[in-house]
Amino acid sequence: MKLHFLLFLAVTVSVPAVRAEQPILFPHSTHINKVHLKCIDCHISADTRDAATIPGIRKCMLCHAKVATDKPEIKKLAAIAASGREIPWQRVYGFEKAAAVKFRHGPHARHKVPCATCHGDMPNAITAQPLVKHNMGTCITCHRQNNASDDCATCHY
């Protein structure tokens, strides 16, 4: 409750897109353009389920146990893997709890919404950063353009 009050006080200040400090500099471009991985190779359920999922460290280590082990970022990765922890990735997309949004990737993929519509040009992104600013207006505009439902309960329940 207190938090909301502060939010209200800060409401006139426009919030810039979060620049997440990622624990490891993960270059999407390398993985997509050079290694030719598809989005769903790592975000395994992006096309079918609600959540796209962020791959676990074991997935990274499948390749990086052998590949590019000499690079400093990969050394960091190996260190975390050795500690028995997960990589503390900062989520760059998501909805605050107060927004009460139930977003599902599945239907969007099924209706052929390209990943880039919401995630921007990830193939050329150097790090995991938000490239597209999301707000309710973006969702609604797209929904209306594509004749998808703009019933509030489509997303909020």
Binding site: F5, L7, F8, G137
Partner: protein, 439 residues
């Protein structure tokens, strides 16, 4: 005591009416301090509510509206003191109105400022109150114009704006006169507010026109505002709220309580600012007659409202009726009838008993009675919902009581500050019309 203050020399009038601006007694400071502390306490209580949630009130299921809404309707009602009276008198050119109008208009503005806060205070998430305002936003969302609460917001904002202008316009000539005040900050304030008033014929003409026009508009707004407040209730389907005559009933009640507030304010000003020469018995006499009329009208409405419920004998409405007349709220109901009808009619209807003192006594009664009336409209209906299983009880918590007390303190505080900054009676209205008579 002078029967006709207009006959006093203008210089004395000016002296009398500007005097309170430069001198403040210890009583003034004491009252201001006490009221200020009470307002702070109220703000603290509100802070607690914002921090912890509406659970700190006595509200529950199904009594979702309580003291805050009662206070809201009450203060909006009080606000009818100024506009209605001053506008009617101004439009009818009643000569005796001169010393009354500004005191009344100030009540309107302050009561509105206070009353207008309550819908925000009672929100579950007060920090999102601005979602009721139609403004373009990234969510592509608009408020629901079908909701009486949105009408309310529009009506009250209009009313606040209108009455602020209405209070301000007649202040301009006085501001110009006060421009020569000795304290620099005051001089600056008055000069700014006077908008460069020179007193030319063109200006006088424009001002007269603006005031007349404003009076007509504000009259319509005032009536509509309280009608809309009544519609918050009557547009719902809750038993006894869904009444076609709540609009006029609320307007009458509002004017009734407004007059009560005005009489008390007038008597206080007369006593404390030594305005015995200006606020004379005739004013109180006239106001008493007005109050008497409203008391009769109020009784007529209350009776019509209840007799139709009783005769109709609709079970759900009778549940509320029973609560009011015979149940948990019977004591307060009959108290209300006594203080709103029996006492005013006796004290003010019998000519021998009518005096400034009895008018003030009756006014206090009416204020209490009208507050009770709102309580008796809001709460008994909610504690007796249509499905008996949801029946509940309500008693306000300390937070609600503190905030209520604080609003009364805020009213007094605002009024005291206003009376120190601005002449409470329009001085220029006493100014002789021929320029030769000016000193």
């Amino acid at each position: 005591m002078a029967e006709h203050p207009e006959l006093l020399p203008y210089g004395i009038i000016r002296e009398d009416l500007f005097r309170p601006l430069s001198r403040a007694g210890s009583k003034w400071w004491f009252t201001v301090t006490v009221c200020f502390l009470l307002v702070l306490a109220g703000l603290a209580a509100w802070g607690v509510q914002l921090r912890d949630g509406l659970g700190v009130t006595g509200l529950n299921r199904p009594v979702f509206w309580g003291l805050y809404i009662v206070d809201f309707v009450f203060w909006i009602g009080i606000s009818h003191a100024g506009t209605l009276i001053s506008a009617i008198l101004r439009l009818t050119d009643a000569a005796w109105r001169k010393p009354v109008t500004r005191a009344a208009e100030a009540i309107t503005l302050f009561a509105l400022m206070i009353g207008g806060l309550f819908p925000i205070i009672h929100l579950g998430r007060a920090w999102f109150f601005y979602w009721l305002i139609p403004y373009p936003n990234a969510r592509l969302m608009w408020p629901n114009f079908r909701s009486p609460l949105v009408w309310d917001l529009v009506a009250i904002l209009t009313y606040v704006t209108g009455s602020a202008i209405y209070l301000y316009l007649p202040l301009i000539p006085d501001m110009a006169q006060l421009g020569a005040h000795n304290k620099p900050w005051r001089r600056k304030l008055y000069t700014t507010l006077s908008l460069g008033w020179t007193g030319s014929d063109r200006e006088w003409h424009a001002l007269e026109m603006a005031m007349k026009l404003n009076a007509v508009i504000i009259l319509a707004i005032a009536i509509s505002v309280h009608t809309v407040v009544a519609w918050d209730f009557s547009m719902s389907i809750a038993p006894t709220w869904h009444s076609t005559m709540f609009g006029p009933y609320f307007v009458v009640g509002a004017i009734f309580s407004g007059i009560g507030a005005l009489i008390i304010v007038m008597a206080t000003l007369r006593r404390t600012l030594h305005l015995e020469n200006y606020l004379i018995k005739r004013h109180f006499d006239n106001m008493s007659k007005l109050m008497l009329t409203m008391s009769l009208l109020w009784f007529y409405f209350t009776m019509s409202e209840h007799i139709t419920i009783w005769y109709g004998n609709e079970p759900k409405e009778m549940g509320v009726f029973g609560q009011r007349t015979r149940g948990d709220y019977a004591f307060w109901f009959w108290t209300m009838v006594v203080v709103n009808f029996v006492i005013p009619v006796t004290l003010l209807g019998i000519k021998k008993l009518r005096s400034i003192t009895t008018a003030v006594i009756a006014s206090f009664g009416v204020l209490i009675g009208m507050w009770l009336e709102r309580y008796l409209i809001v709460v008994p209906t909610l504690v007796t919902p249509r499905l008996a299983s949801a029946t509940s009880v309500y008693s306000p918590s300390w937070v609600e009581l503190m905030i209520t007390v604080a609003t009364f303190a805020a009213m007094i505080l605002l009024y005291l500050l206003f009376a120190r900054l601005f002449p409470i009676i329009a001085v220029w209205e006493y100014k002789p019309h021929s320029p030769e008579e000016e000193d």
